[in-house]
Amino acid sequence: MSLIHKTAAELGRLVAAREVSAVEVAQAHLDRVAEVDKQINAFLHVDVEGTLAQARRVDERLAAGEALGPLAGVPIAHKDVFATRDMPTTAGSKILENWRPPYDATVTRRLREAGLVILGKTNLDEFAMGSSTENSAYGPTHNPWDLTRIPGGSSGGSSAAVSAYEAPLSTGTDTGGSIRQPAAVTGIVGMKPTYGGSSRYGLIAFASSLDTPGPFARNVLDAALLHEAFSGHDPLDSTSIDQAVPPVVDAARQADVAGMRIGVVKEFGGEGYQPGVLARFHEAVELLESLGAKVVEVSCAAFEYALPAYYLIAPSECSSNLARFDAMRYGLRVGDDGTRSAEEVMALTRAAGFGPEVKRRIMLGTYALSSGYYDAYYGQAQKVRTLIMRDFEAAFHQVDVLVSPTTPTTAFPIGERADDPMAMYLADLCTIPSNLAGNAAISVPCGLADEDGLPVGLQIMAPVLGDDRCYRVGAAVEKAFESRWGGPLLAKAPAI
């Protein structure tokens, strides 16, 4: 088996045992990126020299007898919304074209400390706003399963890079589903940790009460290893949880659901869901039952209002966060001809530098926070948030985890929803509740839809700081499905 097809855990083991060098592993992945990324457009920036230098350093440290972590020497694709001082950081926006941050994000720093080799930065919907990566100012990313379709979003470059074997691991951020939805539609694993479990320091902010960094991988154990590598308390993020990281790696190795209570969310299904998605979901539920889990139906009535509440709360926070792009201290400046005022330059720069979806959300948030509308919109949405948290609390009294399809449909064609915001927003229908309540949730592959042969994801939701349960159930599902399929789902993808 070639190096690019190996798991991250196996690559880490081979490098640590010095059976293969980190430089060889890095070069194999750089070759793959050079071979396929013209078709995929997963990367906005590839750092060839930097990648090889990082890999050489890992080899030198191992040669000197240093003990490094389980992922030392493993390549990773890094979402271009995390600050990296040695690479451009654009957030997929023209307003930050060529910007180089003067500091590293905490997630970036921890990847480096763990000896992970950062190949480059991946494409995303501008400022992580979108579900298709079509909102990137640098062109869309293509789904490796079908190049005419979207790879999900906003972390679509990261999902495509991993499913096209350009990297065994990648980072993402999940504000309304931006890790789980791209993972589902590209046939890989994507995890949204508990809010506050992974640091937001140096992550370009979209909606601060929702933004959560998390891992992508081709299997559950690799995702857990990466989760553990960059998570944990960070004094630089005031909303970071000061507690131990849940035992995610042990849980992924446990891979057993005997005796667990699993709830099927009654509200997620029926009209608007693709039949092939529902068929695979029901199969996954039957599989869990056959593995010894006790399955019950659970009602979460307020989930129906999660989408409208999210599209008030997230734009409100976005309109405030993106006020920092004022053309004064960094980024683009347009129209400064000596006659215009700072305010005029600001408005011209923001109009030129932001794409349509970002403008829509800034204005929507500005509207929802305006006096006269605040109580009816933002205030009401915050109450819905309370109701959703109460629904989760009641559900987790009855069951250990909740399950649903990750997305209502498989990957849709590029262009289909590009100028229909409401249709685009529906892609996050099932993922948003866990952002509003801050609990952990993962997406794992559960088969291909009959209609189009495209991947379907199973979402597993666990309580706040119950991240290990996501990995335990996810690994059990993965193990049972892989023995049924004769290998990972991704092996069924067409060759690129």
Binding site: R100, S238, L348, R360
Partner: protein
């Protein structure tokens, strides 16, 4: 009935410091009207006795120890600036001619 008119979008764009073109105003007015119409459903469920939640975690007043620590140098802080003069950010005029 339309919730958001073209004039209202022009007002929102001004508040948001976005110099939008006329055709953009028309386009956004129709879309924002549709979105606001859809999200207004939040009013159906949330009663007066439900407390609002701004956040998923109950955290208040998180402070770090008040200790001096290293920070960016002027060169680092100015490294991304569109214009620099005398170790400072150079910006367009912020006051009118009369001021």
């Amino acid at each position: 009935m339309s919730a958001i008119t073209r004039d209202e979008v022009a007002h929102l764009a001004r508040l948001s410091r976005l110099a939008l073109a006329d055709d953009e105003l028309d386009h956004f007015a129709a879309q924002l009207d549709q979105i606001v119409g859809a999200v207004a459903r939040v009013a159906e469920v949330a009663a007066d006795d439900i407390p609002p939640s701004s956040h998923a975690l109950p955290l208040t007043n998180v402070f770090r120890p008040d200790e001096v620590r290293p920070c960016l140098t002027p060169e680092e802080a100015l490294s991304g600036a569109p214009a620099v003069e005398d170790d400072r950010f150079r910006v367009p005029r912020i006051l009118g001619e009369e001021a």
